[in-house]
């Protein structure tokens, strides 16, 4: 079970949480959905979540198979075990969905997020930002005499921590990708039969 504890105010709160009593059985799951990359497919998936009142903590999408036009959506969601099961069932019955995998229960997996962080400053703050970026193994992808753009990747917690450290050092803007995830080991996810 993956238990990342993202601080309130970062990304744990969906705009579409319609349920009032968030009990302790709330679980956080990372779900990979393979879909036809057709017009409106993202709207379909997001529409499902909003219409049925499910949470979206993070969502990323990109085409992963250019020949057969398949995109992989990685969605991180929170809910009771019953709601998580419903989300997977609702996703899997969609016409544009080829496959649904709940990485949280199906296999050990790695989750990563990438962020671009712009920090502006001079003097001691600038030196300190540079020093800390090395601790976090962030790369400098743009620089001027008074700014850096750092590229940092890792778990969401690591990125949260990096951003918190940059805040007093002249943080200007943040762009984050949201979480992508993949199973560990040589295996490929087989199409689910349930």
């Amino acid at each position: 079970m993956n238990a990342l504890h993202i601080k309130p105010g970062s990304s744990a709160h969906s705009a579409y949480d319609l349920r009032s009593n968030l009990d302790e059985r709330q679980e956080r799951h990372t779900i990979a959905v393979l879909v036809d990359n057709e017009a409106g497919v993202l709207a379909r998936v997001i529409g499902l979540f909003s219409a049925r009142g499910y949470n979206i903590d993070s969502l990323t999408v990109a085409e992963v198979d250019h020949r057969s036009h398949l995109s992989r959506i990685t969605v991180v969601t929170t809910g009771t075990p019953e709601v998580i099961d419903q989300i997977k069932a609702q996703l899997s019955r969609m016409v544009c969905v080829h496959d649904v995998h709940d990485l949280t229960v199906e296999a050990p997996h790695v989750e990563r997020e990438l962020a671009l962080v712009k920090v502006a400053g001079k003097g001691q703050d600038r030196v300190e930002a540079m020093r800390l970026s090395e601790v976090f193994r962030a790369r400098v992808v743009d620089t001027t005499l008074e700014s850096f753009v750092f590229e940092v990747s890792g778990t969401s917690e690591k990125i949260d921590a990096f951003i918190e450290l940059m805040r007093p050092l002249g943080l200007v803007n943040i762009a984050r990708t949201g979480i992508v995830a993949i199973t560990r080991g040589p295996g490929k996810l087989e199409k689910r039969q349930d």
Binding site: G40, A43, A51, Q86, A89, M94, D194
Partner: protein, 584 residues
């Protein structure tokens, strides 16, 4: 073999290749090229409706009564938005319809062009799937895929939005593809291990009940046949949802009547007291379950459904079986017979004794009258005078719908067309037209309320134009009866806007449309009046003037359990508390 055709030609060719014989539609600027092609051929009959909502409901009536998809053709903008209620209705009740909409030319999309609407955006949540076709080369395949999606798995409505320039342009057309060509192919066979668990539960059941729904009808006539076989062989009692009526015959020995909010006492008490519930193609809707934490508390539950999201959505079940009803029932019967065809016959006999005691309550009784027509009496007479005929019954939504479900008996599937999930007033008139188109020689009756009838009555023009002898049987209480009943029970008898004032004279209205009108307000004349309606070869509007303040019982008040039914007027005091009032 590939051919080069215009988009409009491809539409007609693809429909013909899908075996479509009828299209319900309404022309407009953005579909004119397709109408031009319709004009040039005779294979596909176009039925001109009077409103696009009517086209969608007529297609639903066609689909529900034949098992084949209904087809709709409407224009862009308002044509498409008017069809939205029908799409949502079909989605809620899992009815396969294919809706073709015109769209402004691709190069004008997004410019707020005349009669432009974001049709795929608007209909995305109310279709099973939809497509905007931007390339004539893809049009044929998309139409064929749309039929495949509408009819496979859990059926539902699909929509294809076709810009006008795509209709004019030429493209390549392939014929239909085999079903495994498409990536969408829901599984049909049930998991053998789960089927074995279900059979073991059936063998050990002491107080079993079959709870069946529209999924049996949707699975096809074979599913109804297998269900009947299993019910007869096991001797278990069976009840059904509103959507599933007719899958098991109402005259069958094991029939308990419909269950749920206005279901019979015996059906609901059997659901509450059973130890094994066999749910076949039903989805534990809130009209069925009543208060969830008191729903059938002592039972082990088997659930057969083709839609994975229906399983464990509302009620957690012990043995979920994902698959097509007919496929699963066939496997289940075979395995049960192979293992000896055993049931706990003694225990089941005792269970039947208990059920007979519940039946003796006679929950559908009402106070008869020789002065005014009781709505229940009207339905009973309609039933008695049409029983045994080649009959199809549609309804609108409200009290009359529940009385029709309670008092009419359905012996076969696909004979009962009603808006269950969405509860669409105005459904019945156009649906009856769709049914009559598919079954020109059958008796098609729409049991209506006067308020529902007024919502889509313009379709009587369609009925007259195509000489469709549909019988509109209106229970006229000059009230929105179900709303009035809820206001009486829940809102301190404050009857806000629940009466029908300034009603038309329905006989004159019928004559204005060019059909026959009959009015009856005396119970003594009712049989003759119904006979007159049945004898008339054309469409009839029957204004049956009934008791204004009759309530529909039995009733499970919202927020209550199956064993807390109201049986009649005497028991309604304080029946619904504040918690229940919040529910719909």
């Amino acid at each position: 073999m590939a051919e080069t055709l215009t988009g409009a030609e491809i539409v007609i060719r693809a429909l013909r290749d899908q075996g479509v014989d009828t299209v319900f539609g309404y022309p407009g600027g953005a579909v004119l090229p397709i109408y031009d092609e319709i004009f040039k051929q005779n294979d596909i009959r176009h039925i001109l409706v009077r409103h696009e909502q009517g086209a969608a409901h007529a297609a639903e009536g066609y689909a529900r009564s034949t098992g084949r998809p209904g087809v709709v053709l409407v224009t862009s903008g308002p044509g498409a938005t008017n069809a939205v209620t029908g799409l949502t209705d079909a989605l809620m009740d899992s009815i396969p319809i294919v809706v073709l909409t015109g769209q402004v030319p691709t190069f004008m999309i997004g410019n707020d062009a005349f009669q432009e609407a974001d049709t795929v955006g608007i209909t995305r949540p109310c279709t099973k799937h939809n497509w905007l076709v931007k390339d004539t080369d893809q049009l044929g395949d998309i139409i064929h895929k749309a039929f495949h999606v509408a009819t496979s798995g859990r059926p539902g409505p699909v929509l294809i939005d076709i810009p006008k320039d795509v209709q004019f342009a030429t493209g390549t057309y392939h014929g239909p593809r085999p079903s495994d060509f498409w990536s969408y192919n829901p599984r049909r066979k049930g998991d053998p291990e789960r089927i074995a668990q279900a059979v073991a539960l059936i063998e050990a059941a002491e107080r079993p009940v079959f709870y069946t729904g529209g999924g049996v009808i949707n699975s096809g006539p074979e599913a109804s046949r297998l269900l009947r076989e299993l019910v007869e062989a096991t001797g278990f009692p069976i009840t059904s949802t509103l959507m599933g009526l007719g899958a098991y015959p109402a005259s069958g020995r094991h029939w308990l009547g419909m269950l749920g909010m206005h279901g019979t006492y015996e059906a609901n008490m059997a659901m509450h007291g059973c130890d094994v519930m066999i749910c076949v193609g039903a989805r534990f809707d809130d009209r069925i379950t009543g208060r969830l934490d008191a729903f059938s508390p002592g039972s082990r539950k088997i659930h057969i459904d083709i839609d994975p999201s229906s399983i464990n959505k509302v009620v957690r079940v012990d043995v979920p079986i994902l698959g097509d009803v007919a496929e699963v029932l066939r496997e289940m019967i075979a395995l049960w017979r192979e293992r000896g065809g055993r049931t706990r016959a003694d225990a089941v006999a005792a269970w039947w004794q208990q059920i007979e005691a519940w039946k003796a309550v006679d929950c559908l009784r009402y106070k008869p009258s020789d002065r005014i027509i009781k709505p229940q009496y009207a339905i009973q007479r309609l039933e008695a005078l049409t029983r045994g005929m080649d009959r199809y019954v549609c309804t609108e939504v409200g009290q009359h719908q529940m009385w029709a479900a309670q008092f009419m008996g359905f012996e076969e599937p696909n004979r009962w067309m009603t808006s269950g999930g969405l509860g669409t007033m105005g459904y019945g008139v156009p649906a009856s037209i769709g049914v009559q188109i598919a079954h020109p020689d059958a008796l098609v009756i729409n049991v209506a309320g006067e308020a529902s009838f007024l919502m889509t009555m313009q379709e009587m023009g369609t009925a007259v134009q195509y000489r469709l002898p549909v019988k509109q049987f209106i229970l006229n209480n000059e009230r929105l009866g179900m709303v009035r009943q809820w206001q009486e029970l829940l809102h301190g008898e404050r009857y806000a806007h629940s009466w029908s004032e300034a009603l038309p004279d329905f006989v004159k209205l019928a004559e204005a449309f060019g059909c026959k009108g009959i009015r009856c307000d005396n119970p003594a004349d009712l049989d003759d009046a119904i006979a007159e309606m049945l004898a008339h070869p054309g469409p009839v509007i029957f204004d049956c003037v009934v008791e204004k303040h009759e309530n529909c019982f039995p009733m499970i008040p919202s927020g209550k359990a199956h064993n807390e039914m109201l049986l009649g007027e005497a028991s309604t005091q304080g029946a619904i508390d504040a918690g229940g009032a919040v529910l719909v």
